[in-house]
Symmetry: C2
Subunit: 326 residues, 2 copies
């Protein structure tokens, strides 16, 4: 799908799978194998947040759109992410110790600098998934369930699995443990694209699950900086598409897009797990879908390069492989 060229010679190449689904969940276009089984990883956080809203837990806790965006986020651990998650937990009379995502050094440079230069270790709030876990804790509290909310048989994860299998329209062939220790349910690339199409066509006045999906999509596009952070592809691509599209990355090179204006869902998985390639592929597919201006700076940044030497000389470029999103 994506090629890296240097000195006119192909240096590295990334292959993978991509599916675009219509409003009925049917394949409009596909590359690679639509039935390839993948872990969505963090690209399915908006699916994992459906039970939070459907259960009434979000409204009972008075979660605003910012907190719903954070529930779908893989954030940089910047102050704009960790402080609101800390306040959210405090409103539940909970704290960092109630999280089960584990600590993570933040990608946000000021936050990282503050920790390193003060000899402090990162806490669980810095974990890129802390908003998702705050959502899990909100649902746990609402269900009066036990504190080990990442266990597979916990009511929160059982509700997540039911919602996941419903919107992917596929029984999950299995699950793995994600980096944040929560279960991550496997599906196919088609199943994931179908789920994104469900979000794309969800009626804000429709059935409960559709209303929840529409609220999450709106929250993501309203607060792109909360879904990832400065310098991150999700934030940059949602800004560049002016709120017309919700996109979400996942570890090991998964990327999804929700296109309400086109009533379509997109899912990408790069076989080798390279994020640079999933970012390039989703950028190409957004351009191809005419929701991203080819002249936008994000296109050079994530799709074409140039690749520069450390003195700023042009050393190479990225290209779409022939036959992909051309």
């Amino acid at each position: 799908m994506i090629e890296l060229w240097r000195g006119g010679i192909l240096e590295s190449v990334h292959s993978g799978h991509a599916v675009i689904c219509d409003d009925r969940g049917e394949i409009v276009e596909a590359w690679g194998d639509p039935d390839a089984v993948i872990f969505p990883r963090s690209s399915c956080k908006m699916i994992q947040a459906l039970p939070l809203i459907e259960s009434g837990a979000a409204d009972a806790a008075g979660l605003d759109e910012r907190r719903l965006a954070l529930a779908c986020a893989s954030h940089n651990g910047a102050a704009i992410h960790t402080e609101p998650v800390a306040r959210w937990l405090a409103d539940l009379n909970l704290g960092d110790a109630d999280l089960r995502c584990g600590p993570q050094m933040p990608d946000d440079l000021p936050a990282r600098r503050e920790l390193i230069c003060s000899d402090n270790a990162p806490c669980q709030l810095h974990n890129n998934c802390s908003g998702k876990h705050a959502g899990f804790l909100t649902l746990t509290r609402h269900l009066n369930a036990g504190p080990e909310y990442v266990e597979l048989d916990h009511p929160v994860q059982q509700a997540v699995r039911a919602a996941f299998e419903d919107v992917t329209a596929l029984g999950s062939p299995g699950h793995g443990i994600d980096g944040c220790s929560a279960p991550n349910f496997a599906t196919t690339v088609h199943g994931l694209a179908r789920a994104m199409a469900f979000f794309a066509v969800a009626d804000p006045e429709g059935p409960r699950r559709e209303r929840a999906a529409a609220r999450l999509t709106r929250a993501m596009t309203a607060f792109p900086e909360l879904v990832a952070g400065e310098g991150r592809a999700c934030t940059a691509l949602m800004r560049a598409t002016g709120g017309k599209v919700a996109v979400k990355t996942g570890a090991e090179a998964v990327f999804v897009a929700i296109l309400p204006s086109l009533r379509r869902g997109v899912a990408v998985k790069i076989a080798d797990g390279a994020t640079r390639a999933s970012e390039a592929a989703i950028t190409a597919l957004l351009m191809r879908s005419s929701v991203l201006d080819p002249g936008d700076p994000v296109v050079e940044r994530y799709l074409t390069g140039p690749i520069l030497s450390r003195r700023g000389f042009v050393a190479g470029e990225m290209k779409l492989a022939s036959g992909f999103a051309a």
Copy 2:
């Protein structure tokens, strides 16, 4: 070649090319396409250092084995790397401004912390290639050549190209600009493995080029911490093989090994450019060649995993694809 598994499901996979050459440069074993054209990137620094010794420049400048190891290094920018390179340049009455590699934030955590917390920017000495460039400057001085030693037509780069094409036994099909702005000459995976076999069998008392190659191999294995640094695969694998093997990584997932005891050379290129896979592949090939103990901790670290969640739970593992190095 390398697979990543999570929850019993294949999550990501890396394919590539590998060649093991004997003392005549013939292929003993190969996987993928031995004739695939690649950029060796930093894996050929010991080839780029041959003219430094052959010309007499190294001895004229009184370079010891430590400086020869640094000339072959992709180092972490730790004090053990930057301070000796600074002294080396000072001995030439040169300094950081004479380098052409560009600045790079060091991977070494203490060095990085010192720069970040003192609000200082990295300098060119921190560039992982600064030792190679100090070698280029030493040869430039010896040849009374001009200061722009990374230009393709500069005597230093012309000497590098001649040595490169001789030891790979192949005319280079082209060149690219490396991250450090120096030319990087393309070859095939077989050509690179053949060059490593040349180093493996080089006679310390033999012809000039062989003597130079033998000195560089000895310098690398004598000072593994100078060739990369703490926590790095090159250093860990050379320590684990007890000086029996010299190994070197290159950007975009190239890895080479020089095995004097077996009179063999090895070259690996992962097609997608993933370093985690080139590290796993070279580790597997060293084990297969019986120069690395399967029980050594580096095997778990670079080849098998486990892959852990941020709370330390086992989430997955790495495996050799069937048919590779089995």
